[in-house]
């Protein structure tokens, strides 16, 4: 077993930290949601949960991208990184655009009954 060189130790270190952070993020989200499901006395608010889920997902995504996929760790011209960010841009446009369009279509197309039930739930009329 050759003595592990310095670069290998840092690579190992990165994988371990990446793993632990991801594991922690997953467990935190899980217990937040369990707390909400179980009801109980101090229930976390709906919006807080949404934000924390989104935030922890993004943290995990960044950690995986940096520690496991070594984004940006390539010689000039960093083609893989450019492709990665262009993909992210396309995904944001596609998913964000589709949801914006479909919600807008649903909103303008509700029949009278649905608008009644929708208003009761959302605007609490």
């Amino acid at each position: 077993m050759k003595k592990s060189t310095f670069s290998e130790r840092t690579a190992l270190g990165r994988y371990i930290t990446g793993f632990i952070v991801s594991l922690a993020a997953t467990l935190i989200v899980y217990f937040f949601v369990q707390n909400r499901i179980a009801g109980g006395h101090q229930v976390l608010s709906h919006t807080f949960l949404m934000i924390s889920i989104a935030l922890l997902a993004i943290i995990q995504f960044v950690v995986q991208a940096v520690f496991f996929l070594h984004i940006g760790k390539e010689p000039k011209p960093r083609v893989k990184m450019i492709a990665f960010f262009f993909m992210l841009l396309i995904v944001v446009i596609l998913v964000g655009g589709s949801i914006w369009i479909m919600n807008n279509l649903d909103y303008t197309m509700m029949t009278p009954e649905q608008t009644k039930t929708y208003l009761q739930n959302n605007e609490g009329l």
């Binding site: 197309m109 509700m110 029949t111 649905q114 039930t117």
Partner: protein, 310 residues
């Protein structure tokens, strides 16, 4: 000799087009309603605006190709001149300004001519519910208790509120003389507000492929004076056929090139049952589900209640 080669085909094209255009009626350019009129104005404005770019392109094209043709060795020849900051800023800048103007016009016109926007008028609005069936149009007048197939009549200068749905593949409800089209889709209601300012019979059609009878899915939109409209209502009321959910299912059977028919509307909420048909599992087949749904509806607190998605 070259001139002949180009002139003859041009004459032929012009001649053929002139022959074909006798007695042609341009529905979109001859609006009979306030919405179609504004849309035509927008069409003409945008065309003129884009000519600001198109005319120079055509002129420059023919001048440059003629002046700098290879045989004209007198013309200046500078093969290495391949860039000029001035010209670049010109043809990036001017189109940006034009598009800026057009963008403002687009924003205002889109909001002003939004099909869901109701029109202002002294006359009370008339609600007409439209159902696109397999290859015919059904029009329901909930307040007047009448219905008609492949013909719709309404008084002029009265804002018409169309609630449009379909009990067939995706369709599109379009009366070119009165205004833009809107899709008719099963399980959903789309809205269209039109108003005729002159009386007459205008062609209406389906603008979206919906199966083999698609070409025959035409109707006539008749704008008349208030009195003629009243007579039409009386004629519809005295019709022998009554439109109930059972006679509706008979009507909904696919059929093409259907003649005009008038009904007395037996069931005022027929439109809603047609729309809701796609929302809920039909009570006949899976009754257990609906019970689960009702109990689910009351008890459930969070937003995950089954809000029937479109």
């Amino acid at each position: 000799m070259k001139i002949f080669i180009i002139a003859i085909p041009l004459l032929v094209v012009g001649g053929l087009l002139a022959y074909a255009l006798q007695g042609a009626h341009f529905a979109i350019l001859d609006p009979k309603g306030i919405i179609a009129d504004k849309e035509r104005g927008l069409l003409i404005f945008t065309t003129l605006l884009s000519l600001v770019v198109v005319v120079p392109v055509f002129v420059m094209l023919f001048v440059i190709v003629w002046r700098y043709r290879a045989t004209n060795t007198k013309a200046i020849y500078s093969p290495e001149w391949d860039g000029s900051r001035f010209f670049e800023t010109l043809w990036w800048g001017i189109p940006c300004l034009i598009i800026l103007v057009l963008a403002i016009v687009t924003w205002t016109s889109s909001h002003q001519l939004d099909p869901t926007r109701s029109l202002t008028s002294t006359h009370p609005p008339l609600k007409i519910q439209v159902v696109a069936l397999q290859w015919k149009w059904l029009f329901l007048y909930p307040d007047q208790q009448v219905a008609s197939v492949n013909t719709v009549e309404f008084p002029i200068n009265t804002p018409i509120e169309f609630d449009i749905t379909a009990d067939a593949p995706m369709n599109s409800f379009w009366i070119p003389s009165l205004g833009g089209q809107i899709y008719a889709m099963p399980g959903m209601t789309t809205k269209l507000h039109l108003m005729a300012d002159t009386s007459g019979t205008y062609a209406g059609s389906s603008a979206n492929l919906s199966g083999t009878g698609f070409s025959g899915m035409r109707f006539s939109a008749i704008a008349t004076s208030a009195s003629d409209y009243a007579n039409w209502l009386i004629r519809a009321h005295s019709s022998s056929q009554v439109l109930t959910s059972s006679s509706y299912t008979a009507l909904a059977v696919p059929s093409a090139d259907v003649a005009v028919r008038l009904y007395r509307l037996g069931e005022p909420t027929l439109y809603d049952t047609i729309v809701m048909k796609y929302m809920m599992p039909s009570t006949a087949t899976s009754s257990t589900d609906t019970k689960a749904v009702n109990s689910d509806m009351d008890m459930d607190t969070n937003m995950n209640m089954n809000m029937p998605g479109m």
